[in-house]
């Protein structure tokens, strides 16, 4: 029994020191810089494959013809709008509970990218809606909840920029993000809970996806592509933010100011 307790304590200590090391600003700065070109390469590769696959190779839809192809931008963008928010909510909880600086930085660096994907999802949805539904916009549950998500994103960086001290600002923002997280299941389940003009889920459900496999593969490839885009751009933003916030730290000076030996 006592051995077990010691083991557990050592384990926790080891995990904790690993998290602390990985999330230490200089370490993150170094690792993210190394990983960035790889994610960039995967992003461009999958984007080319996904766009050719979706816009050219995939068969036309039996009902919507070629118009359905906007799905290859609309759906991955909408998934990203929710995925990025969940990443931010996770960061917010970590930042508030464990006071890990990196979590604050990843959170605020993700917000503009999330807002961009939400705007893309809303715009492409509108363009798709006009010919298919017969209207640009309706106030149904899905569309309204997604619009609220856009306002949440805008509110998040408005609040962050309104506070002079970045650390205090981050704390306010974390709380706002956690309050807003309730919107994510509402967006996802809106089409099941209420009667909406928007269709029900095609892929993200427990059933088999109700989309032909030749149409599904480019869609999933585009989803991977958008995720890699998010990671590369988030890394860029996070690295800049880190340098700015840690501008007085020794590792930044060492990194940016050439030593005499140079």
């Amino acid at each position: 029994m006592s051995i077990y307790i010691i083991d557990k304590k050592i384990m926790i200590k080891a995990t904790w020191s690993f998290i602390q090391k990985f999330s230490s600003p200089p370490h993150f700065y170094r690792i993210s810089g190394k990983m960035q070109p790889w994610f960039m390469a995967i992003f461009i590769g999958t984007l080319i494959y996904g766009l050719i696959g979706g816009l050219y190779l995939a068969p036309t839809d039996y009902q919507q013809g070629d118009s359905f192809r906007i799905i290859y931008v609309h759906v991955p963008a909408a998934w990203m709008s929710m995925f990025i928010y969940m990443v931010m909510a996770f960061c917010a909880a970590v930042a508030l509970i464990w006071r890990i600086k990196l979590a604050d930085i990843v959170l605020i660096s993700s917000a503009p990218i999330g807002a961009m994907f939400t705007a893309i999802a809303l715009a492409t949805g509108s363009i798709w809606g006009k010919p298919m539904w017969g209207t640009w916009w309706v106030w149904d549950a899905r569309l309204t909840a997604e619009l609220i998500l856009l306002f949440l994103y805008l509110g998040i960086f408005a609040l962050y920029n309104a506070v002079e001290d970045k650390r205090t600002g981050s704390r306010f923002v974390s709380i706002l993000v956690l309050v807003g997280v309730v919107n994510i299941p509402i967006i996802h389940y809106s089409v099941e809970w209420w009667a909406t003009l928007h269709q029900g889920p095609t892929v993200t459900k427990f059933d088999k996806p109700s989309i032909h496999i030749d149409m599904l593969i480019p869609l999933l490839v585009m989803a991977i592509s958008f995720k890699c885009y998010y990671i590369t751009t988030m890394f860029s933003r996070a690295r800049t933010e880190l340098l700015e916030r840690e501008s007085n730290a020794k590792w930044v000076t060492k990194l940016l100011v050439p030593t005499k030996a140079d």
Partner: protein
Amino acid sequence: MTPARKKRMTLIGVLILGTALAVGLILKAMNENVMFFFSPTQVMAGEAPKNKLFRVGGMVVEGSVVRVPNSVKVQFDLTDNAKIITVEYEGILPDLFREGQGIIANGRLDAKGNVIADEVLAKHDENYMPPEVAATMQRVADKDGSIKNKM
């Protein structure tokens, strides 16, 4: 975990549960307003507002579409596979409008109990497939004698 962290974690849990509960209650109270449309059954049961615009959604009954010659007037029946309601509309229909298609009409009831629509929107379902696959499925369905359901 230190007591301070435990406390913060509990606070965050309470914050999330609290907001979820509050929003859940608000949505429950507004349930009727969040519903985008009524079904023909609900309209027949008198659940739709009188003398006010409302939306009714259902499937266009096969063979029920009647166009008035030399005009854009059209009349069709809408069903939820339980009740049938007649809709009259004057205007341009969306591309996806066809018999057997799910649509949503925005309008009001007239004295006969028909819906006089100001707007007709097509609802497409979550199925995506090439036309050949759809044709094959249709053949199989016809053989089985089952009715296709697209709403």
